[in-house]
Subunit: 260 residues, 2 copies
């Protein structure tokens, strides 16, 4: 049997330490191909590039023993280009990250790291995104790498049902204080914006986005609780965004009774 | 009681005919403020602008009788700027669109129109995105405008539960063939990419994203079925992306038994 084919993506760009840590974490599990943006793409959500052409450049020697390609596109573009233009068969696993910074709870929706994993899942590839809750460029990925290795092996063993991927967040914590993995749900949370208003040298206003993260609940089955309690969080994620529970409610509105 | 405050957004840009049709459709329902990108932002997904500053320019006379602002940001940035910097209270309704082109089924996840509505819902604003299944710049928004007017009034009357917003798609159809509104779920579908490979004048390859939309099921309770059958589709959407049904499955993996 051939070795598993593993696609490695991220949103911090192909030169980020986090993707290097991820390659080291999973390279014993199969044949790796790295396809990642040529520059940081944090906060790109599920953006795709429609109005501009895309380029792919093979990077020799960047990841010893592995093929690597940088693209001028978003994380989602990278997955689409990998599937259609770079890989010769559907990969057995897509790993995205390791992100420099948390992608827990509502951040899943803003995250380029997770959007690459979501796109992989749409393509029918078992997919997972890993994020370390430490934004530092020189963050310590030792624990995160061990967790990535363990979970990647588990996905190769069990696969994932179509429509489901994993969002794994690792706390910034000393390894001696780490309590293990917790399967949980996305906490109810939001970013509360507070734009920093400034005046440019020409007298015109401009704004920097800043914000404060607010957790809106304190249940013990959420990713935020797990991370705050010394666990790494594993949230199964789906791209069916239907609020199924709201369909009966909407039907009580009798939307169609007034004609239009 | 004061009139409802209605925030109007889109992703095709403040000069698109679709947002003009939307303003006309809902202006009798309350006080409108338009906040939209200064240029087209299709396919931006839930992207936000972190690494660059943002600007806001008030546009006098663009929408007669209504305040309007263009921003240099994404659709999500527009909502965040509106809530934090432009509006003096939380709006009673956010309407996004009318998009030039479908945002049914999986397109919800790539859509800037829908990401503005999702962001509104995260902020606790009753929110809805409208899309006409016609990409033409000079598309006929007559039917779509009537539907937008009707649904916006219904949302103001009933509100929406926190965490739920609406994705409304209108078929490209003669009004005489229109069969009404159908509450439904997101169909299982995907875009199958087929990048168009070209050579630039310097001999280097580049790629244009093209793709084919594939519906992966033929059930009769989906938005794709509704649209193909002459209905406008109304899908309740949620931003909790947890695959709740997969939590028991993951717990059978006994992820934590091997330590890391």
């Amino acid at each position: 049997m051939s070795r598993p084919l593993i696609l490695v993506c991220n949103d911090d760009g192909i030169h980020a330490p986090g993707i290097r840590a991820l390659v080291k974490a999973v390279e014993h599990l199969g044949d790796l191909v790295v396809v990642a943006p040529d520059s940081p793409q944090s906060g790109m959500g599920h953006a795709i590039t429609i109005g501009e052409p895309l380029r792919i450049n093979q990077k020799e020697g960047l990841f010893e023993g592995h093929k690597a390609f940088e693209t001028t596109g978003t994380p989602v573009d990278c997955v689409k280009l990998a599937v259609d233009k770079i890989l010769h068969r559907k990969p057995d696993l897509l790993v995205s990250g390791i992100n420099h910074g948390s992608n827990s709870s509502i951040s899943v929706i803003y995250s380029g790291t997770m959007s690459a994993a979501v796109e992989g899942a749409i393509e029918g590839i078992p997919s997972v995104g890993f994020s370390l809750c430490d934004f530092a460029y020189d963050a310590d990925f030792t624990l995160a790498g061990k967790i990535a290795s363990h979970i990647a092996a588990k996905i190769l063993e069990h696969k994932l049902p179509y429509g489901t991927l994993l969002n794994v967040n690792i706390p910034k914590i000393a390894e001696s204080n780490y309590r293990g993995l917790k399967v949980c749900r996305q906490a109810s949370a939001k970013w509360s914006e507070n734009f920093d208003e400034r005046i440019d040298p020409h007298g015109k206003k401009y704004y920097w986005m800043t914000g404060e993260f607010q957790v809106l609940e304190n249940a013990t089955d959420t990713d935020e609780w797990a991370l705050a309690s010394g666990y790494a969080s594993v949230v199964p994620v789906q791209f069916d965004m239907t609020a199924h529970h709201a369909i009966p409610l909407l039907n009580t509105w009798k939307l169609d009774e007034t004609g239009q």
